[in-house]
């Protein structure tokens, strides 16, 4: 599985952004990406607080405000299903149901193997290919049952290869 993030890694990420207070969001996003569990645990929040000379409460203010940041561990891949109106009112397929069935979890949950977390998102700016799901930085559109099955399969296979 993923290599555990060390304090040294976290400090390197912070240094790569010149330990700049303005870059707090970029720093937190990078730490979250490298964490393997898509979150920023208190240990790393404390390091950021010390390195940037910002109060810990401020770091948490930011982590809890922004949708993309999480203080709680999540799956390796976050599947975000767009539920803004241009996607929501596309007829035909209920993509939430298909994801739930394929992953055997409910909206908001994480699979037992920690590979996927299913959640909602607001519009990701791909309404021309609605209905849409975003996984990490990838956006998948015009989703059908077959497509969803293939996508999930490709992520599962990628995970096996990494092991």
């Amino acid at each position: 599985m993923c290599k555990q993030l060390t304090e040294k890694d976290v400090c390197e990420i912070i240094a790569s952004h010149q330990a700049s207070k303005e870059k707090l969001l970029s720093i937190l996003l990078d730490i979250q990406d490298a964490s393997g569990q898509n979150c920023i645990v208190e240990e790393w929040a404390r390091v950021v607080s010390a390195e940037l000379d910002l109060p810990l409460t401020k770091i948490y203010d930011v982590i809890t405000f922004y949708e993309m940041l999480s203080e709680k561990p999540r799956g390796k891949n976050i599947i975000e299903i767009c539920k803004s109106t241009p996607c929501h009112f596309i007829k035909g397929v209920n993509i939430v149901n298909i994801f739930e069935e394929e992953l055997c979890i409910k909206m908001g949950e994480t699979t037992p193997d920690n590979l996927f977390t299913l959640q909602y998102t607001s519009c990701v700016g791909a309404c021309d290919i609605a209905p849409v799901a975003k996984i990490g930085d990838e956006v998948y559109g015009n989703l059908s049952k077959d497509k969803i099955v293939d996508i999930i399969k490709s992520y599962r296979e990628a995970a096996i290869c990494q092991k």
Binding site: I90, T121, S122
Partner: protein, 433 residues
């Protein structure tokens, strides 16, 4: 005659987006060179003559905004590009960032020159992290080619652009929240006044414009304000990128001159192409979730900021979400309100509580438990939210509701009698159809 006019989108798909060489071959950076030979005031006058109205949603005249900032004698000044693009149904800034980033960079650089600013920031939403990389590469290449960075075009003018990332918060598109977020803080709006032109980024005078607004600047400098104005209407200069989605037959981004009608946008074969799968148009949502809803009888309205506003409609961000008759208005408004509940930053009561209460009432309509009194309550709530909310998010959250109450009260009334014209509510089957 074709209703399409390509000004901003000429390079889309034709050049490698981050290649300065190809951009220059396509006529890029001619405007910057011209701008270097002009007085700043002359450039501002062209922007004024062009009647360039802000493309981020509020349609504020860019020329006036530039003039106000120019008059402030305090330095450093900052140039900020709003690329948060959070309005659902909007994906046109993405096209510019992804397919012709150098046009946006050139526009920002010209602004930098006008205000003698040395630092620009572009705040790109976190959902576009992949595009941030393309944009960074365009920035690097522009710097290497001498169009950005130190001593631009061999002069003593220097200008740098930094990319800042969002992390998923619609309210950060509001310009003062955007600046807070750019400073690495929580993206809650600031109280105004003071205006951002006076107290902006790092408390210094700041220009905030939308991506598409900046992208228009090179053209305005090159062809002149009068010529640019003539592309559109006497009140709204130039062209607009419109984003068609929902049940439109041809979903996507199209560039149209101001002055075409809504009918052209939704039904023209080269643009929206009508309703998909032979459906019938029921309504359309303009400018994002915070915009008004239009109905078939308003289709002949000219797409021009002033004409639209006079008719209770709005250009806004350029979103046009087309909805067919399978959609229930109450159900639709519930989805809109859910968005605002989710995106409210929670700072003020009218927005934080107002949206939740509104959802509660809409839910009563969809369950058939609403009463006549709920109309008055919704109206009162909407007025209170519009007047007392701290920022534009809460102020505009009930715009869509207001359109529906004004033009389709009958559909609400039908729900009082447990009837849903679209057949969505009061059934046990999901989705109605």
């Amino acid at each position: 005659m074709s209703k399409i006019k390509q000004v901003l989108s000429v390079n889309f798909g034709k050049i490698q987006p981050d290649s300065v060489e190809e951009y220059v071959k396509a006529g890029g950076y001619e405007a910057l060179k011209k701008a270097f030979s002009m007085e700043p005031v002359a450039i501002i006058n062209e922007v004024k003559a062009a009647k360039l109205l802000g493309r981020g949603g509020a349609a504020y005249p860019a020329g006036s905004k530039w003039e106000q900032l120019y008059e402030i004698q305090e330095f450093p000044k900052y140039i900020v590009c709003n690329a948060d693009e959070g309005e659902p149904g909007t994906f046109k800034d993405k096209m510019l960032l992804e397919k012709d980033p150098l046009r946006v960079i050139e526009g920002m650089t010209i602004a930098g020159k006008v205000f003698n600013s040395h630092e620009g920031y572009i705040y790109i939403r976190g959902e576009y992290r992949k595009i941030q990389k393309v944009f960074q590469s365009a920035l690097d290449n522009a710097e290497k080619a001498g169009y950005l960075g130190n001593n631009i075009l061999g002069t003593d003018f220097s200008f740098k652009i930094h990319i800042m990332t969002g992390a998923g918060a619609y309210v950060c598109g509001e310009n003062s929240a955007l600046l807070n977020s750019t400073e690495g803080k929580v993206g809650r709006p600031r109280i105004k006044p003071p205006h951002l032109a006076e107290v902006g980024l790092f408390l210094m005078p700041t220009l905030v414009n939308n991506v598409e607004s900046f992208a228009n600047v090179p053209t305005i400098v090159l062809v002149g304000g009068d010529e640019y104005l003539s592309y559109g209407t006497p009140d709204s200069g130039g062209t607009k990128l419109v984003c068609l989605s929902g049940h439109a037959a041809n979903r996507g981004v199209y560039e149209v001159p101001f002055g075409v009608t809504l009918r052209d946008i939704i039904f023209d074969e080269e643009i929206g192409g009508g309703v998909a799968n032979g459906g019938k148009l029921k309504f359309y949502h303009l400018g994002g979730q915070s915009g008004p809803i239009g109905f078939p009888e308003q289709l002949d309205t000219a797409y021009c900021c002033k004409v639209m506003r006079n008719n209770g409609l709005s250009v806004g961000s350029g979103a046009v979400v087309v909805l067919d008759e399978s959609v229930c208005i109450i159900d639709y408004l519930k989805s809109v309100t859910e968005f605002f509940i989710h995106e409210s930053c929670g700072k003020c009561v009218p927005c934080r509580e107002g949206n939740t209460q509104l959802q509660f009432i809409l839910d009563k309509f969809s369950k058939g438990t609403a009463t006549e009194a709920d109309f008055a309550l919704m109206k009162k709530l909407s007025t209170t939210m519009a007047k007392a909310s701290f920022c534009g998010l809460g102020q505009a959250a009930t715009t869509a509701l207001d359109s529906c109450l004004k033009y389709r009260k009958a559909e609400f009334e039908a729900h009082l009698n447990k009837q849903c014209p679209a057949g969505v509510c009061f059934t046990n089957e999901e989705g109605g159809e």
